[in-house]
């Protein structure tokens, strides 16, 4: 059984009458990248701040590496790096001094501190910027420095709140690469973003919340499978498709057969094996198949399908 590095159980946080986080539970396994998605005001940032020990839950608990964020916040902070949705930079401070300060603040001393700062500078490709003042950097570079700050003490769990917001395409690609590298290094990562196409490329699984409530959690394909048990398939023939339509309607598991431009589209209920058999039958029946495609729904489809877009 895989080990949950980050575990949330029945977390509750209210602000007056607003239920920012309302009894949510999910876990992130070691080395997994989990996308945390939901509309604005869904409770993502509050959940992340509770995980980062900056807020206290009114109910439930969250554990990082087995330590409770309420009972052992100091140990949690040692295991976790948090990057909020703002850079948080100091005036009159160079990149190296900035990272050095946070390394000191994490109680890294002497040679280990210098090594940690050098490693971050190298890993984040900040070598040329070492002596530049942080506040003078572009948004993308500030985000890079902020990520460096979050991992300077080599935490096992990373919590990133909208890390790619307002970045230009190049900075976004660079950022995505860094996240993947960190995941390869074995870091457990929970990250929220509104750029769903990007999340789907980075994440192994997603958790969707809305109005403080958990709507779905797990690998995107599994959630989609649960939401849409039928697959959307299409066949393109090198000729007219009238006969194929009639043929498909008679096949088991096939429904909603219709023409879609040059293709015949239909819904199919069944697994991979059943799909292989269907393709074999179509070809075996002598249809001149030019193209056979399965249309997989993406994270955006999932998001639209399960959220209602209501805010508190």
């Amino acid at each position: 059984m895989s080990e949950a590095m980050l575990q949330i159980d029945g977390l509750v946080r209210h602000f007056g009458g607003v239920h920012a986080v309302d009894d949510i539970s999910f876990g992130v396994e070691r080395g997994q990248v989990l996308g945390f998605i939901g509309p604005n005001g869904a409770g993502k940032t509050t959940t992340m701040r509770i995980l980062a020990t900056l807020e206290t839950p009114q109910g439930g608990d969250a554990r990082i590496g087995g330590y409770s964020v309420v009972d052992d916040p100091e140990k949690v902070r040692r295991m976790m790096g948090f990057m909020p949705d703002y850079a948080g930079v100091y005036a009159n401070t160079t990149v190296e001094e900035y990272l050095d300060f946070f390394a000191r603040a994490h109680d890294l001393r002497g040679e280990s501190r210098r090594k940690a700062v050098d490693h971050i500078v190298e890993f984040m490709s900040l070598g040329d910027l070492r002596d530049r003042h942080v506040e003078s950097l572009s948004k993308g570079l500030k985000q890079r420095v902020a990520l460096g700050r979050a991992i300077v003490h080599n935490p096992e769990v990373l919590i990133l709140d909208e890390p790619a917001a307002n970045l230009d395409p190049r900075a976004r690609i660079e950022f995505r690469t860094l996240i993947r590298e960190l995941a390869t290094d074995g870091k457990t990562i929970l990250l929220s973003s509104h750029i769903l196409t990007e999340l789907s490329e980075m994440c192994d699984a997603v958790t969707v919340i809305e109005r403080g409530k958990l709507l779905a959690t797990g690998p995107v394909e599994d959630i989609l499978q649960r939401l849409r048990p039928r697959r959307l398939l299409s066949v393109r023939l090198a000729g007219p498709g009238d006969r194929l339509e009639r043929f498909l309607v008679e096949q088991p598991g096939v429904t909603n057969v219709h023409e879609a431009g040059p293709c015949i589209e239909f819904e199919f209920e069944g697994g991979d094996d059943e799909q292989v058999q269907l393709v074999s039958r179509v070809i075996g029946a002598g249809f001149p198949v030019l193209e056979f495609a399965a249309h997989s729904a993406g994270l955006e489809d999932l998001f639209i399908e399960i959220t209602e877009g209501r805010v508190q």
Partner: protein
């Protein structure tokens, strides 16, 4: 190699206290504010020294006024500019959202506050060092002795650091940007006044009020005793300001209440200890000291009560865990820990200590009754609104709302009787003389206690006082009950969750 090792050791020591010091000093030194204040310091010193030297060449002894002028400059920087910088240092962390980032590190709130304060201490030392050659010159110019110079510099440094601690605490009070800006403006104005007052005090010192030419003041050994006493009070109050700031900056999961309670108890014991040291003096001195202890104790108790009584009754989970072991820290946490009516208990305990200490002094029975009434009023206006609010609206009884309830009750008690009287009876003249209807007003009643006793109105203040003390005592079990209720609600919730999970 040895130098590198020493530097490394120094770095480690500095980081152990707070890594903020190195970072902040770098920022301060590169900032415009420091360049301006340091430059102004040097220019002022040069101008004053030049004028002093000119006066000496003309045959005068310019040492005293040179020193006074230099101290005025230093007082402005040390009591206004630097403390304002201390206030701003913490405010900026909040505005620029870097405070959360520090909180996420291994730095505790205590190390953050100490770091902020030490940075200002280094800044003050730099400014004092910049002025040192000119101050030395004032001694050489004649007319002022070394002890006066040394005492003045030490007192100014201590006062400046205390002001910095006060400013860090005030800065810690406001989380919202708007409130922080309002406090910043208020603190700025207040510090300018403080600098003016201290400037005048140093002028008095240099004129020989305490030492030297005017005579009649205390001897050098007496001055040293006074300084030792002041230093002790300075240190204890400074520590308590730091603890207050730490308390305001701490996350709810941290227990910053126990050290604060112990700090304020130590402060009270210090005042009592100081007063008790006069017990073998003649009766008139003892009575004067007793009355002084009453005044200081009243201010101390009011400050402690306002914060301690209004705290949330819920006991954080971590504090509960800390209270469990049968060790000395566990025992301390059970008595002085957060929530559960312990705040009211602390106030009651300090009240008992104060009343017990005052019983040792030969105070006139008339003053004794007045003192007890004052304590009774204090308990009444702190405990009665808090108890009423807690019982009527337990869910809405936040510390801020309870503080407002106290203020509103006090303001109503001071203004309403007169207002109602003039609305109902509509007299021709607005009489400001003390009368029966003002017995609810604590300040008026205490100030006019002789009239109260002469007219035999003592029963009403006594009743108010007894109600106040009873309400304070009642807050202890009420707080414990509310804490237990909150804990049981949490436990029920957890039980439901676990049974649901089991299903």
């Amino acid at each position: 190699m040895t130098v590198a090792r020493v530097v490394g050791w120094l770095e480690d020591r500095s980081d152990w206290l707070s890594p903020l010091v190195v970072k902040e000093i770098r920022q301060v030194v590169r900032g415009r504010e420091f360049s301006l204040s340091f430059g102004a310091c040097l220019v002022a010193g040069l101008v004053v020294a030049f004028l002093g030297a000119t006066d000496v060449l003309a045959g005068g002894t310019a040492g005293r006024w040179t020193f006074v002028s230099l101290m005025a400059c230093l007082a402005f920087l040390g009591l206004a500019v630097v403390p304002l910088g201390a206030f701003n240092a913490l405010r900026r962390e909040r505005v620029e959202q870097t405070f959360d980032l520090i909180t996420l590190t291994a730095l505790s709130s205590r190390r953050v506050v100490i770091g902020k304060l030490m940075t200002q201490a280094v800044r003050l030392t730099t400014l004092f060092a910049a002025m040192a050659p000119f101050v030395a010159m004032s001694f050489l110019l004649g007319g002022i002795d070394f002890v006066t110079i040394a005492v003045s510099l030490v007192v100014l440094f201590m006062a400046s650091l205390w002001m910095c601690a006060l400013c860090v605490f005030l800065s810690a009070l406001a989380r919202a940007r708007a409130l922080s800006a309002v406090i910043f403006a208020g603190v700025g104005i207040a510090l300018l006044f403080a600098a003016g007052i201290f400037g005048t005090a140093f002028r008095a010192i240099s004129m020989g009020i305490f030492f030297g030419p005017l005579g009649g003041g205390p001897t050098t050994s007496e001055v040293l005793w006074i300084l030792a006493g002041l230093s002790t009070v300075w240190l204890v109050t400074l520590v308590n300001l730091v603890l207050l700031a730490v308390n305001r900056l701490s996350l709810p999961t941290e227990d910053s209440v126990t050290p604060l309670r112990l700090g304020f108890l130590a402060q009270l014991l210090l005042f009592v200890g100081w007063a008790v040291s006069f017990l073998f003096e003649p009766p008139n001195i003892r009575e004067g000291v007793g009355l002084m202890l009453y005044r200081i104790g009243c201010i101390h108790l009011a400050a402690v009560a306002v914060f301690a009584v209004t705290e949330r009754p819920a006991v954080p989970r971590r504090a509960v865990l800390r209270m469990q072991p049968a060790s000395f820290p566990g025992w301390l946490a059970r008595v002085f820990g957060p929530g559960g009516g312990r705040g009211a208990f602390t106030v009651f305990l300090q009240l008992l200590i104060l009343v017990g200490a005052l019983a040792l002094f030969p105070i006139d029975p008339y003053d004794r009754r007045r003192i007890l009434t004052a304590f009774g009023y204090l308990c009444f206006y702190v405990a009665v609104p808090t108890l009423a609010f807690r019982l009527a609206f337990p869910k809405y009884a936040t510390p801020a709302r309870l503080g407002i309830a106290m203020l509103v009750t006090l303001a109503a008690a001071m203004a309403l009787p007169d207002l109602l009287y003039y609305l109902i009876f509509q007299p021709d003249l607005l009489s400001l003389e003390f009368s029966f209807r003002q017995l609810l007003n604590p300040l008026q009643t205490i100030a006019n206690w002789r009239i109260v006793e002469t007219n035999g109105w003592g029963l009403i203040p006594s009743t108010i006082g007894i109600f106040g003390v009873l309400a304070l005592v009642a807050l202890v079990p009420t707080g414990a009950r509310l804490a237990a209720e909150e804990a049981s609600v949490g436990a029920t919730g957890r039980q439901l969750e676990s049974s649901a999970a089991a299903d």
